[in-house]
Subunit: 239 residues, 2 copies
DNA sequence: CGGCACGTTGACGCTAATCAAGGGGAGTGG
DNA sequence: CCACTCCCCTTGATTAGCGTCAACGTGCCG
């Protein structure tokens, strides 16, 4: 199953080819710039593999090049909360200024990341207004996302949370135009969704069944199909 | 009542006097540094006054000098989630790299803040490794706090959430040593606590009554008394 | 005095958790 | 090839936690 998830889609980065305007791209090019090289190293992980662990000191930050990952916290009694989904092109810069991580990171699909030396990133950002701006924007986006998650968890119903999550992810992977009955490669399992939305996988199953029966959207075998975008927006996007 | 809350304690900044190692202090001193002045302006607000509004473009960031504030989101149907409590010495730097805010900020007590020009802060950070480090650490602390809130909201019981909130706040205001039966000036009302923990004020009242009856802690008229620190830690700090 | 905000308490109901059983697909080993 | 296991999903029955509604007490203020 895990292997199946990995094999079909490529999960490639949409930002790398174009490159402009992304911190991730700027850092990668940064390696070759003579005045401020950024040491970097590519790394792969298998589905469900934990690549960063809470409490571990990390002296690099990373960008996702291919595949999906999760930032999460697991309590000692087993309760787990997923904080964010990391897609290709996303940076996880929390480690830049933390001495110890307060979260872990786990691969959902087969994953390829690039690790950048913290010290080098800081050095490179320091003299470079554009880099600082990109770094700041990345932080801001990360904060916006987690703030939105907190609002979901605190004040929205199960339906709204699930729908909001799906919609935000589809928007991120498909570039903001969603057509009826379009298929999207979507590797999150119901247990991932449950831990993102603060629900149990049983209840996620019920909510998804409800959406399916209402002809709104279907998630099956790694494929998400949105039949009724209008309805999706209506349920998800109460601002 | 609102006035009462404001009058008794001073809510002064513990960081300003000492000054070292805080971004807030560094920015304030930054005004007088000839090469990189940071324009700043002091500002006051009354209890319950909204000082930043969602969707508004902000071209300054601010530090809390005196009083308590809340960062929050309010949905169009009235549901509200408080994202963070801002104490004296805290910076709210989210606006630095957001073009529009996705949250609002409201005074809890009588409030004094200092606003710093975004452009000046960026300029000042750009050339100064120590400032960059301080800014990064401030961001990291902000992220850590909201991540912890998300875990609370998603995966902890009402008792754990309330206790965790109280404990984290007491730690922040009292500098990490809590003695039995010590009183702490504590301006949060039950409705603030409810919107921080994702509960209703009715349920917060029940939870607080439970703690009070168990002889663990009491909150009354702006005074928080922790009778049994051990028990507080036990309930709150399941990592 | 009346009005209002805050807190408290009780009765009731709903949302989502828990417990449990079973189906289906994929991989494994005989 | 089939039996077996494991993981993921589904569905039903029951329960618990928290929300909702409502009433009331208190302190403050006009």
């Amino acid at each position: 199953m895990a292997l199946k998830r990995q094999q079909k889609p490529e999960w490639l980065c949409r930002k790398c080819p174009s490159g402009r305007g992304s911190l991730c791209g700027a850092l990668m090019r940064g390696e070759t710039e003579e005045q401020c090289p950024v040491r970097q190293i590519s790394h792969s992980a298998a589905p469900d593999e934990v690549i960063y662990s809470r409490q571990a000191p990390a002296d690099d930050v990373f960008a996702v090049c291919q595949g999906w990952a999760l930032r999460f916290v697991q309590l000692s009694d087993g309760r787990r909360q997923n904080l964010a989904v990391l897609l290709p092109g996303d940076l996880c810069i929390a480690a830049l200024f933390h001495e110890r991580l307060h979260f872990s990171v786990e691969a959902i699909t087969e994953l390829r990341i690039t690790r950048f030396s913290c010290a080098d990133v800081k050095k490179r950002v320091l003299g470079n207004a554009r880099m600082l701006e990109l770094l700041g924007k990345a932080c801001a986006a990360e904060q916006r996302d987690i703030d939105e998650r907190a609002v979901d968890l605190g004040r929205r119903t199960a339906e709204e949370r699930v729908m909001g999550l799906m919609l935000s992810l589809v928007n991120r992977i498909s570039g903001h135009r969603l057509l009826p009955n379009q298929h999207h490669a979507f590797p999150l399992l119901q247990r991932h969704i449950a831990d993102l939305t603060g629900l149990t996988h049983v209840h996620v199953s019920r909510v998804m069944a409800e959406f399916r029966n209402a002809g709104i959207m279907t998630l099956s075998k790694g494929l998400l199909t949105i039949a009724n975008p209008t309805e999706v927006e209506k349920i998800a996007r109460l601002t």
